[in-house]
Symmetry: D3
Subunit: 256 residues, 6 copies
């Protein structure tokens, strides 16, 4: 059920029965010369909508702009600074609880949002408002991702490329896949990102000239579909597991 | 040009030439028994995308959740509290300026956002970062709106109903228009909202049982289209006027 | 009863019986070449004191500086930025509730404060602390104002001029009324404040060279007195209405 | 020159010549059974207006409510919490600097404001905006105060009583002076406020049953006048000293 | 009992029996040419650990950096700005209460922290979380300090010098005591710190060329020891007094 | 060079030559039944002091309390909430820059601090104040850690146990190592911490009954020493690398 398409009487019925919501969050940021800047929010929304359709749980509209200052040197990257992002997400999450939502899945497709969503999750859990967890599709099927691609490419790599070929192929520049690979960092191991145990870089541009890593020519829409199906399964199972819990079991345990 | 569909090389070209962006903002909130809760963000996005298409200016993704605590008693209304909304919008507006955007049109379709967008507009203007203005479609064609409808219906009324019939008719419950009218407040004048000069109400539910006002049966998709065309013209002209200004003329004047 | 003139034993008696307070708020800002910068706080204080005297309700001291950045180009305008203003007002309003005050009238005479007082009103209402409403004198008698003046002059116009001639004539420069009119914008309709539906101005100086609008020569102390009496009546009635309500009826309604 | 009584053309002239402002700040709080709750803001305003009159420097309107949570148990005490108070004062002080004010005297008559005004003073000085100092009348004439009263009474004691008898005798309950003394703590030394080096009390009521200390029967309006004249002299001299300084000499020194 | 040296089972036993904690706080800031910058946190920690040892109460680790912007012109001074300091201390104090701590002694050795610790103390007391008091050793034995030194030297003077000679003599430059005295301000009365009742200085360097006041040659480790013993006695008594109180008696009193 | 032990003249010399500082940060939190709660700050301080000694760079005092809400169910865990922790660290880091420090190594030994130190690092870098990086000892020698222990034990495991046996053996309960292992989670793989790709736990107690993981009986002081030497080498090299960079090369790159 997609919240935004419904009128309030239908939603009244939902809240009478259910207390779970899927909230898609992504970013609008550079994903190399070949992918649209929508990549992360398109993917997040696709997964959340798919799981909502399969399960009947509620999906909210998408938060399209996230925490992406590390991509700002590449044109078009939009971002919100971390404190404002956290507070914005916290505010609407608390307000969802007004309607009886007490468990939330942040369906996230941007690595830069993870820690902030975890922090928000703690805030709303520790005072007993709601239980919210962060979920990223590739974290749910790590072995399959490793199996499908030679280079388990991170930002703008084959993994995200395949997913976008499947979900929004029209906006993928297939004729730039080689250029993406050759102008970026084909092997993540080659990116010199850690010095003596310290991550000494802050921005994507510190590591990669065109903003992406991995071998994009390894991507196909078919691989994207396979990953999408598999990860959607995982998300559905997460929702069902969450729905099965008693709310008190999701809250913080007592002191030892 | 829709930012999210482009890869960074195309956006690099845009920023080399232009410095204006359209930012759609709406809400996800009850609009009566007949309209989807997407109403305000669907409308905002439609106008911003249309104007971007006609002019070639950049349109960003949409902010789907706004300041709607006054509708919270009706199921499904999502909202962000005002300080967090302002800070979130301010943050990404400032960050747009990093790419050279120095004039922004907040294409807004939710009355509850107006004052907050104006406040953000002042913040970013007063320190010389950018010039941002708030625009609502119905404010741009007040006479036409009056002409088209007997009751210039506000929230969830014929005006918004017609617009949604045109833009997203699939999610309008046409079979509930009479119920919407009869269960709400047909005539705004009948809503007892001011006492001795003071607005003594805070929530929509204080005035209307089903969340809407006006006569929804007066709406048609054709009327919606006519309004959409007329207001889009206005938005295009606003963009062109803004683009013609010198940036220094948009900044605060000096002291007397 | 004026809080500041009383010692605590008298106030103890008040709080034992009553739970309403009038709080005057204005601004210190330019009001053209002819009016003192006190205009808005002088007017607010006069109304609040008058209503307190007529009803016996409590009037607090005045907040003299408000949200006036839009007048800053004119010398002497003092202002507090919106977040700080809201937080300051919220803080003392909450603290009034410590003494049992659960309903507050913000007797306001500055348009720039309105939305911020409404926002504070929501904050303290939504958590059940108190019910506070904003009131402006001219909003309470719109028809009379229209009747008395040809041009229902806004900032620094005949309306405020007449009121100050009545309340503090000593500080009105009656010999500058023509200059005020001729150096400003006589007809509000002439002020080019909206472009294609967007308010494109932020500061008073964007519209008016001397800071004021309307025809000041239309003002007299007699008109001021008439308006003062009529609006005071309204404020008294508002207080009585408010006092008659049960507190629970002033709080937010439950969910549908 | 009193800012609020002037129109902007007169203030334009002032700012062309001068850069100093006197800002009165007090509190609205219990001062025992005999004094009005205005005591601190009445005194602050009287000194600031007097010094402005004698010197020609600018005096702004008064901040009537300050940091008084420690008096809240006594009816009528109004207060703003410290962070909000500091931010409010900082905001208008910075905004005064817009007009060219670069030195400010906070004419303060409430002990509870001192540290907060000092903190604000540091904020605006350390970034080079303005130099602001806090001044309290009794700190400027400690020997005279000691000479005039047997008990150099603090809060609501003979010192403040005499001052109010002189400045606003109408609102002093002269018939309660003995009750004030007998119901409070006549000798400060008797107030058991420190334990083993730690101030273990937080609220006035922890020490005194009626809110005041000292022997109020020792006060007369004549004593009040004498103190007022002497302290006004000090304030005038402070303004003149401040006016004589070069702004760069008032700013923080460089690193060693 | 020193919290940091214990494992959680031992601490579990403590919280089962006791509800008091000693929290040492100091600063890291210049103390003249002869004393190490640790002076204030070394002293604070020594007292807190000593009292914990004598009484069995819990001592936490030390907050080493405090509010010292007024010493920043001297190399090495570290500081945290006041709002951040207050919020940091408030946060861990509230969190101590999670374990059942409801009374806290801030064992403080830096004058610049006092008002901020008092403000935090009010915050946690006023909402009933805990009762926290600030304690400084020299405030607990004022007569002895006066007796031991000719000049009751403040910052970096004989008092602190003697204490450090006793506690950490290795890091005291005994060969610079005369230089410290001669390069600073030997007599506090000579420091011209107040003008017409106003403290017109903000930074230590405004008064003293080498950062210190008083006659350092008057200090010996023996004097330090004597003071340490006497003040430790006071701190022990404060803890015992605090432990004897009923929690409800430490909370704010009701309204009159 | 340890800042706190020096007087300002020595520090003046340092800042004249150098611009790097090591800042140790840890936590005070449960580390199982066998380790003291100081574990993380003891380790952080040891590394920072060691590297300072070997290189001559400046080491500041330690931040002893960090972000540890996830350990709060175990007695004695102290913590500061994330926003306050970040702001506190940001404040003193910015203030270090006042003295000319433009590169900082956060020598951190608590996993819960990592993301917050990275966030602070971005804040101070993005506005050009300083370049700060986070470093954890075990991240600098991952292969050696894997080689030394069968189970590369995380929180309170053999790795931290060995380090504490070496650095502060007196406070390690060697007689509880078996109990630590048997009462916790010997194999990390057994801790069921992720469900369908989502980290569904928030607190340590959700996974482990006694707060620790891994096989503590595998730890010895000798292993601790070996790790300490190896990681100290890494830290020294990081400092030297950092010192060799030009400041402009450490700042954010320009836009593409």
């Amino acid at each position: 059920m997609y919240l935004a398409d419904e009128a309030w009487p239908e939603l009244e019925e939902y809240f009478a029965e259910e207390s779970l919501a899927l909230v898609p969050l992504g970013s609008t940021e550079q994903h190399g010369p070949h992918l649209p800047e929508s990549t992360d929010h398109t993917i997040a929304e696709a997964f959340a909508r798919e799981a909502a359709e399969r399960t009947g749980f509620l999906c909210t509209p998408t938060v399209n702009v996230g925490v992406s200052p590390h991509h700002r040197q590449f044109p078009g990257t939009m971002w919100v600074d971390p404190p404002e992002f956290r507070d914005y997400v916290e505010s609407f999450t608390r307000n969802l609880a007004y309607h009886g939502i007490d468990r939330v899945v942040f369906v996230n497709a941007h690595g830069g949002n993870v820690q902030h969503l975890r922090e928000v999750g703690r805030r709303v859990r520790d005072d007993g408002t709601a239980y919210a967890v962060e979920w990223m599709w590739d974290e749910s099927i790590p072995e399959l991702v490793d199996e499908v691609f030679e280079q388990n490419g991170p930002h703008g790599g084959p993994k995200e490329t395949a997913m976008m070929q499947y979900l929004d192929g029209e906006h993928v520049h297939d004729d730039r896949l080689e250029a993406a690979r050759d102008g970026g960092v084909a092997s993540v191991a080659d990116a010199d990102t850690v010095k003596h145990g310290s991550r000494t870089f802050y921005d994507a541009i510190d590591n990669t000239d065109n903003g992406v890593l991995g071998d994009q020519t390894d991507a196909t829409a078919e691989k994207g579909e396979r990953l999408f199906e598999a990860a959607s399964d995982q998300l559905v199972q997460l929702c069902e597991w969450l729905d099965d819990q008693r709310f008190e079991d999701l809250l913080p345990k007592d002191r030892v």
